[in-house]
């Protein structure tokens, strides 16, 4: 059954991602909101509700209730709800539109992580999985364990292991390459496979500096409306055709399978069903590459590659990279904004930047980084995760 009352995105705005030590957190979301509202030609009074996400802004920035702070900023007294991830905020907004509660909603995401640089890894780890934290886990360690478990399970050895390691490096290189055309990206510079490998050597680990997304400040805002309202505001609305989320145990070691994320697989299957689309329809893909391993595993969890084979596909495609993955003869433009690795990863805003990218690409407004597809771009998919695969959100976006 396809979705009734398809929610539509009519405008999107975001800040540059990176370190914004000079700015208050509210300045960032204000900047994103101003860009989005200008694009949709909306005024504050047109907003009927706000769904805002931040992973841990009250911890990093010693803030009170975010809703009150937003009310002061916008002089709005409408319903406002705060969630931890953009995917979650958007889910709530979509459900509200579909229920007919509102027809114009501001969906925003904000994070300001660099203000707590010295303690942030402890915070991140404690929120991600307290028992693992107590046993000494770091935000990077679970990615390494997942990689080792994956290698073991699929018995990847020798030359293949070398290819897998290279493929992971190539993911990072590809994302950095894409980000060179993204003026909002945290890192707009190319890197090489050698740099990625050297960083691992320096760290004496299977994953190094260039395998992980950075600590980032930033904000992103969407204007979400009903299908009817969208027609009045724009002639190029992007519809949310399907969305789904799933949850899993907080403690990663306790999950049945340590080599992939159940949440991604579950959410994708449901999202495709509600969107009445198939995998083959997806041309644009924004993955949640908190690490290169996460991007690799996600390709399998979403169904684009068979289990234990994504590294082969990636390696084959990246040896002579054309700007997209060629999978079974079809183009798949992946992480066109540079991914979390190069665009940046301001947790609560990250999903917003992912949706922003698909929105711009589907509208043909991505400028220099516009995907040059063989066929007309119609469908995009976004995967956002929370914790270490504790929650997963999948959005299928499309235009008529």
């Amino acid at each position: 059954m396809s979705m009734q009352n398809r929610p539509a995105i009519v405008a999107a705005g975001r800040t540059k991602f990176g370190e914004h030590y000079e700015k208050e957190p509210e300045k960032l979301i204000e900047e994103a909101w101003l860009k989005a509202s200008a694009e949709a030609n909306l005024e504050r009074k047109d907003i009927q509700a706000c769904y805002i996400s931040d992973y841990f802004l009250p911890i990093t920035n010693k803030l009170g209730l975010e809703e009150g702070w937003l009310s002061e900023l916008t002089e709005l007294h409408v319903p406002m709800e705060v969630t931890r991830s953009f995917g979650s905020a958007l889910s709530n907004a979509c459900n509200a539109i579909r229920a007919g509660s509102y027809d114009t909603i501001l969906v925003g995401g904000i994070e300001k992580m660099t203000d707590r640089w010295d303690k942030i890894r402890d915070d991140l780890m404690l929120l991600e999985d307290p028992w693992s934290y107590y046993a000494g886990c770091t935000p990077e360690a679970n990615h390494e364990l997942m990689l080792r478990a994956y290698i073991k399970k699929h018995n990847i050895k020798n030359e293949n292991l070398h290819k897998l390691e290279t493929a992971l490096a190539q993911i990072s290189v590809k994302n950095h390459l894409h980000a060179t055309k993204n003026t909002c990206a945290q890192y707009q510079r190319k890197i090489t496979v050698e740099q990625v490998l050297n960083a691992r050597k320096e760290a004496r680990k299977p994953l190094g500096l260039y395998d992980f997304a950075p600590i980032t400040d930033g904000a992103a805002v969407l204007i979400l409306t009903s299908e009817q309202k969208a027609k009045k505001l724009t002639d190029k609305p992007i519809h949310i055709l399907g969305f789904a989320s799933a949850t899993d145990y907080l403690t990663y070691p306790e999950r049945e399978d340590m080599t992939h994320f159940l949440v991604t697989e579950t959410a994708m299957q449901k999202a495709l069903k509600t969107a009445q689309t198939s995998l083959q329809d997806i041309q644009l893909l924004e993955l949640y590459d908190q690490s290169t391993v996460m991007e690799l595993i996600s390709m399998e969890d979403l169904g684009f590659c068979k289990r234990g084979t994504a590294w082969k596909t990636i390696h084959e495609n990246c040896e002579n990279y054309k700007g997209y993955y060629q999978i079974e003869g079809k183009q798949l433009f992946t992480n066109m904004n540079g991914g979390l690795k190069a665009d940046g990863n301001p947790l609560g805003a990250t999903g917003g930047a992912q949706i922003y990218e698909i929105f711009k690409q589907l509208r043909g407004e991505a400028g220099e980084r516009q995907a040059k597809a063989d066929s007309e771009l119609k469908h995009g998919c976004v995967l956002e995760l929370e914790g270490f695969g504790t929650k997963g959100y999948v959005y299928i976006l499309g235009r008529d």
Partner: protein, 502 residues
């Protein structure tokens, strides 16, 4: 800043690795659950309590942590991974401990994976000096190294005794040593302290005695290096080892810490024995632990002479009247107010009276207690098979043993100070354990402790036939720990750092 209620809950589960198992589908959980997630409501009341404390696991995957989170920085580099128990039915996160990894060391993780590991009770991470000390047993060591896995099996007692005595014992010392001249001394790993050693020794004593832990009615822990000025070690030992009948999350046992310099534990032997011998007490077994991360000021500063001798370790003894391995024949204690060694409240290290610690202190009290008990029991030195004296250094116990008329073969086997250093409250008890490890049935052991301040307790023990029956249950003997091929030797700077802890 920490939260005490959170600390209580985390350590309640994490120290013992408490879990649950569904009677219907067999799913296991690392946490206490009232029902099974898979079976739902029908599993209410059908969850078995379980814990992994005495089990062995398998390290499934691991990774090197060389950029730890802030609270783990003092650990340096370490290996972290995922440990499975019960053929993978239950998995937990875990840190490998007792392993020093230098920045340039290459760590081949493939040699770690699939290996059996044993949970170890340790400090969890660093906190500020005023906080509650967090502990956990999600720390592991390999079963094929220093610390083998040993099953804890409850065995129904087969024999009653008229006199109370020792029914089991355990000695724990660390994997690390400092060697200076002929003297080797045990050094705690950075996540160890007198609390963790007490728990380890108690655990080993339970394994050795095979008693039912619910029948332990009293626990005494003697120490002079409790990291808390106020807060007992005994309560931690009682909870982690589940001593006494557990009701909700409270153990049905009396737990108390004692302090009298190096005789804090030995003094309680008679109290434990008397208690189990008093029918109305309802106490079947009483446990006494002497534990110390022996303190000493750095060398070349006041009190720094002690730094040449201090060790680390604990010894636990369980007293009872069933399946006794050594009966108590008699005792004698003496006390005088002799200020030979002390530590003022708030001071990090003890001070001592130099020359004064010898004749008016150690020798006077050990001599008095030893000769008085021999007089009381009408014993001559030749009636005693082994003599154990408190051993703050190599010279003192030998001098007093000779003076009392004992021959080398009578006192030499108990001398462990050259292997572990002076383990303060654990010192003469470790000597006693070394004897129990090798003694034959029907031999007499005379042990005389000494505690500065000052006093001595002398005991005469007679070994029984059951000593031999129980011996095979304990792999971690004193000799095993003294001569283990996996011992790691550290330099002076590392020794001071490790001793200071997290």
């Amino acid at each position: 800043m920490s939260s005490e209620p959170i600390e209580r809950r985390v350590s309640y589960l994490g120290d013992r690795l408490r879990g649950s198992r569904c009677q219907i589908c067999g799913k296991e959980y690392f946490e206490i659950r009232d029902y099974c997630g898979k079976c739902g409501r029908k599993s209410f009341g059908k969850m078995d309590e379980s814990d992994l404390f005495f089990e062995k696991g398998k390290l499934e995957v691991s990774t090197l942590i060389n950029e730890p989170t802030n609270k783990f920085i003092k650990l340096g580099n370490f290996v972290y991974g995922i440990v499975s128990f019960h053929d993978g039915k239950i998995r937990v996160p875990g840190r490998l401990t007792d392993r020093m990894i230098k920045d340039n060391d290459t760590v081949d993780l493939s040699t770690f994976e699939e290996r059996e590991v044993v949970p170890r009770f340790r400090r969890r991470y660093s906190v500020s000096a005023s906080d509650v000390i967090p502990t956990i047993s999600l720390t592991f060591t390999f079963a094929d190294e220093y610390y083998p896995h040993q099953e804890y099996k409850k065995v129904k007692p087969s024999k009653d005794y008229d006199a109370p005595g020792i029914v089991g014992y355990g000695v724990y010392s660390s994997r690390f040593r400092i060697k200076e001249g002929n003297l080797e001394r045990a050094v705690p790993f950075i996540d160890e302290d007198s609390i963790t050693a007490a728990v380890e020794a108690g655990k080993l004593a339970l394994i050795h005695s095979s008693i039912d832990t619910t029948l332990v009615g009293k626990i005494y822990v003697g120490s002079e290096s409790n990291p808390y000025a106020v807060k007992p070690i005994a309560s931690k030992v009682a909870q982690v080892l589940k001593l006494g009948e557990e009701d909700e999350d409270v153990q049905g046992i009396d737990a108390i810490d004692t302090e009298f310099a190096c005789k804090a534990a030995s003094s309680m032997f008679k109290d434990a024995a008397s208690l189990v011998n008093y029918p109305e007490s309802g106490v079947n077994h009483a446990m006494v632990i002497g534990t110390d991360n022996s303190q000493a000021a750095p060398r070349n500063s006041p009190g720094g002479e002690l730094d040449l001798f201090v060790g680390y370790g604990a010894a636990a003894f369980i007293f009872g009247k069933q399946d006794v391995i050594a009966e108590i024949e008699g005792w004698y204690s003496c006390t005088s107010d002799t200020p030979d060694f002390w530590r003022r409240d708030g001071e990090s290290f003890p001070s001592h009276g130099g020359r004064f610690t010898g004749d008016p202190a150690y020798f006077k009290h050990v001599r008095k207690a030893s000769s008085k008990i021999m007089e009381k029991l009408n014993l001559k030195p030749c009636d005693v098979t082994y003599f154990v004296a408190h051993q703050p250094n190599m010279q003192f116990p030998i001098r007093i043993a000779k003076e009392l008329g004992f021959k080398e073969e009578q006192y030499q086997p108990s001398l462990q100070v050259a292997k572990f250093g002076n383990t303060y409250s654990g010192c003469s008890p470790v000597g006693l354990a070394a004897i129990l490890d090798i003694a034959k049935p029907n031999e007499r052991i005379l042990i005389t402790s000494y505690g500065s301040g000052a006093g001595s307790d002398a005991y005469s023990l007679i070994t029984t036939n059951q000593l031999l029956d129980k011996r095979s249950r304990q792999k971690l003997t004193v000799k095993y720990q003294a001569e283990n091929p996996f011992l790691e030797y550290v330099d002076y700077t590392t020794y001071r750092r490790l001793k200071l802890g997290m």
